[in-house]
């Protein structure tokens, strides 16, 4: 048992922390948010130049060969800065799927530019009514000469407006919730028949709904064996969950820090409000939730890259559940302890609170993972 970071890991953490501190002040973030991309292309480029876009990829593919723990360190710092870049979606989640399902030709063609950050990926899995169930796929892929035609609608694709390449799940056979028959396709962002409705999400990053109307995809752009994508989708969602837990920890730490500072400086009735026991105990409750959530984020990071097993699934579901509950608790308490100022757009805490609550709407909420864990519950 050892929870210390190696020298390389410490360096990685310091590098990302510094980068975020220098580039992601509140004003700067607000500026990125208002820009057309909805994030900083310059910051993304810096991540690439420093080799940070390569962290989650295997060395054999030109990556850094980072572990779940490396991803955790990086995501924690991006979470602390409320960064708007779709790093998790592109490099960890979609990138992981490309690595796992892609063949040698696809790897050779795509991974170098993905690893370097030149080509951003987006992942289109959710649909209207799918509610976090990966096997719920209504979008159809019909076989045509030389490839496939995709038709359907994909919901809230984070980074779907800026990505050069989209990974889209579609059904080649079966009914809406069948586990078999789901494939993942590489769809060019400029493909004919593909349209988007773009919007900002309430917690900052930009997203879009994708409308596919007989979008042609070459046979070479099918990832993996036809109709067999679900196990990989589930496995990589586990990696994404671990990364998102880490992102939440960074944001929770910042929200707790801002709240604690406020309790020590804000005076009412002639004394810092942190002297009142009712508020002290709330702050302790926040710190307690942060503590156990951190433990689960570490656990998730340690099991994320393990071979698929029920034990891994249980632990990742538990991590997402505990972190989701803690994140919402901390967000709501942080606003409450700040009072009115915590409700304002111009104060950073409000944006952390939004992110912490809304993270639960990606990759499954607490009920989703509670159900998943309950199904996997071992008898005594």
């Amino acid at each position: 048992m050892d929870f210390k970071l190696s020298e390389e890991q410490q360096m990685l953490q310091d590098t990302v922390a510094r980068l975020v501190r220098d580039n992601y002040g509140f004003e700067q973030r607000e500026h990125f948010y208002r820009s057309e991309a909805g994030f900083s292309r310059a910051f993304w480029q810096q991540l690439g130049e420093l080799g940070l876009t390569a962290v989650p990829f295997a060395e054999a593919h030109g990556g850094f060969g980072g572990s779940g723990v490396d991803n955790m360190l990086l995501m924690t710092e991006l979470g602390r800065g409320l960064c708007l870049e779709p790093y998790l979606q592109s490099q960890i989640h979609a990138g992981g799927l490309l690595q796992q399902l892609g063949n040698a030709e696809q790897h050779e063609r795509l991974l170098p530019v993905v690893v370097s950050g030149e080509l951003q990926l987006a992942l289109a899995l959710e649909e209207p009514h799918s509610h976090y169930h990966l096997q719920h796929v209504q979008t159809r892929a019909e076989r045509v000469d030389g490839g496939w035609e995709l038709s359907g609608r994909k919901a809230v694709v984070i980074g779907g407006h800026s990505a050069g390449l989209l990974l889209v799940s579609a059904r080649i056979r079966g009914d809406v919730r069948d586990e078999q028959g789901i494939s993942l396709f590489l769809v060019d962002a400029q493909a004919h028949g593909l349209s988007r409705q773009v919007y900002p999400n309430i917690d900052g990053p930009k997203a879009c709904d994708l409308f596919l109307d007989r979008v042609f995809v070459r046979s070479d752009d099918l990832l993996g064996e036809p109709g067999q994508a679900l196990p990989a989708l589930r496995y990589q969602q586990g990696r994404a969950i671990a990364a998102q837990c880490a992102e939440a920890i960074g944001s929770m730490e910042e929200a707790c820090k801002l709240t604690l500072d406020y309790l020590k400086t804000r005076k009412q009735f002639g004394t810092p409000i942190g002297k009142f026991q009712a508020l002290q105990h709330r702050m302790v409750d926040m710190r307690t939730e942060l503590e156990v959530a951190t433990s689960m984020a570490i656990l998730a990071a340690c099991v994320a890259d393990q071979a698929d097993s029920e034990e891994r699934s249980r632990r990742l579901a538990a991590a997402k559940f505990i972190v989701t509950r803690a994140a919402r608790f901390i967000a709501e308490q942080a606003i409450q302890l700040h009072g009115g100022i915590g409700m304002t757009w111009e104060y950073n805490l409000a944006h952390h609170a939004k992110r912490l609550v809304m993270l639960s709407h990606q990759l499954g909420d607490d009920d989703h993972h509670l159900r998943a864990y309950a199904e996997l519950l071992q008898s005594a």
């Binding site: 048992m1 050892d2 929870f3 002297k275 433990s295 340690c302 632990r315 159900r371 309950a374 008898s379």
Partner: protein
């Protein structure tokens, strides 16, 4: 970063398991698992078995009869003992007064008391709380006045756990009423057979006789029974409280209770009920989280850190989880949680149980375990500690 135990630690765990399989009496383990009351003899039998193996005073230094176990070894030992249904050690002697004597006691005190704790000759109880001094322990009023080679003690202690079995009590007494609260307190070792001491039972809401009131009426205690210096008793008390808090997350005990809950739920045909399954799942996930937190603290302690107020966080969470499990176990029994069967609670029913061997204990145990968030510094006091020590509020 590595969340796994080392090969050496796993080998140690196997050794503990082997010992428990061979040596833990089945009747005692059954009582523990079913939440029934343990007799004095049950406790003493188990203590003797541990003592014989050299594992009773695991936390003591080797020179006094302890072990050289690491904090991880101690954690594994506690977890395995709980998993097998070994009784939780009555800590007042072995893990409370002994560390204080080892740290602050005289050579004579060490030579006299430590062997008697090891071989079970003495059963210690704790004289801390008073009717007017609970969470605010430093406001205690029991007086000790020096008269020649004796202190004369007058006052009352309360919530004295298993005081009815004890022949020795360690007490916080006020030796300087003029001094500021914490300053005028001393730490005294008192023989329960001394004239002037009387013990009166307090029956708790579960019908159990677990705690007592202890009255002191002109009790003459030799000055040699003072531990450390006069008026420095608070230092001993604080040292002891940190000992009391380590391991209070009770991971092993909650794991064992959760396993039992699942077994009973299965026997009752309820384990497939989605609502109950979800509630069990939730508490199991919370337990997983505090287990990892415990391992992080152990790893830090292993590396030379001193567990501080983080153990308060674990005490709060750990007690809440244990209580939640006892609530679920009570619920799965449905109407059969209602009958209050004192004979069955004692663990030796005359004939067949009214319903099942597992049905008599849980409701009583649920009420008994309300104590977890009250004793050893209530959960609210723990929050005050975290607010002060970690948050600097």
């Amino acid at each position: 970063m590595d969340i796994n135990y080392t090969a050496d630690e796993l080998a140690f765990r196997d050794q503990v398991r082997e010992f428990l399989r061979a040596e833990l009496p089945a009747d005692i383990a059954a009582k523990v698992r079913l939440g029934k009351q343990l007799s004095k003899d049950d406790h003493q039998r188990w203590q003797r078995i541990l003592s014989k193996r050299g594992w009773y005073a695991a936390n003591w230094p080797v020179e006094f009869g302890g072990t050289s176990w690491s904090v991880v070894h101690k954690h594994l030992f506690e977890e395995e003992c709980a998993a097998f249904g070994a009784p939780r050690l009555i800590s007042f002697g072995v893990n409370m007064v002994a560390p204080v004597i080892i740290k602050f006691g005289s050579a004579e005190q060490k030579a006299r008391y430590l062997p008697r704790i090891l071989d079970g000759s003495d059963w210690w109880c704790q004289g801390y709380s008073e009717p007017g001094a609970g969470s605010d322990l430093a406001s205690l009023k029991t007086r000790a006045v020096r008269e020649g080679e004796h202190y004369v003690v007058n006052g009352q202690k309360t919530w004295t756990t298993l005081g009815q079995h004890a022949n020795m009590i360690f007490c916080l007494v006020r030796t300087d009423p003029q001094a500021q609260q914490q300053r005028g307190i001393s730490f005294l070792l008192i023989d329960m057979d001394t004239p002037g001491i009387s013990v009166r039972p307090i029956i708790t809401l579960d019908g159990e006789h677990e705690v007592n009131e202890v009255f002191f009426d002109n009790v003459r205690v030799p000055v040699a029974n003072l531990v450390g210096e006069e008026n420095q008793g608070w230092t001993c008390a604080k040292y002891l409280l940190t000992h009391e808090r380590t391991g209070q997350a009770g991971i092993g005990i909650s794991k064992a209770a959760l396993a039992h809950l699942k077994q009973v739920a299965a026997r009752e045909g309820l384990l497939d009920d989605p609502l109950l399954r979800a509630q069990i799942a939730e508490v199991e996930m919370q337990l997983m989280a505090i287990e990892v937190s415990t391992l992080r603290i152990l790893a830090a302690a292993q590396a030379g850190g001193v567990p501080g107020a983080e153990s308060s966080i674990l005490k709060i969470k750990g007690s809440e989880i244990r209580q939640a499990i006892s609530h679920l176990l009570r619920k799965v029994l449905g109407p059969y949680a209602l009958p209050f069967l004192e004979a069955e609670l004692g663990g030796v029913p005359a004939g067949e149980p009214l319903y099942a061997d597992y049905s008599a204990g849980p409701a009583s145990q649920y009420f008994n375990l309300r104590k977890l968030s009250i004793f050893g510094g209530s959960n609210e006091i723990q929050k005050n500690i975290v607010a002060k020590m970690i948050l600097d509020l």
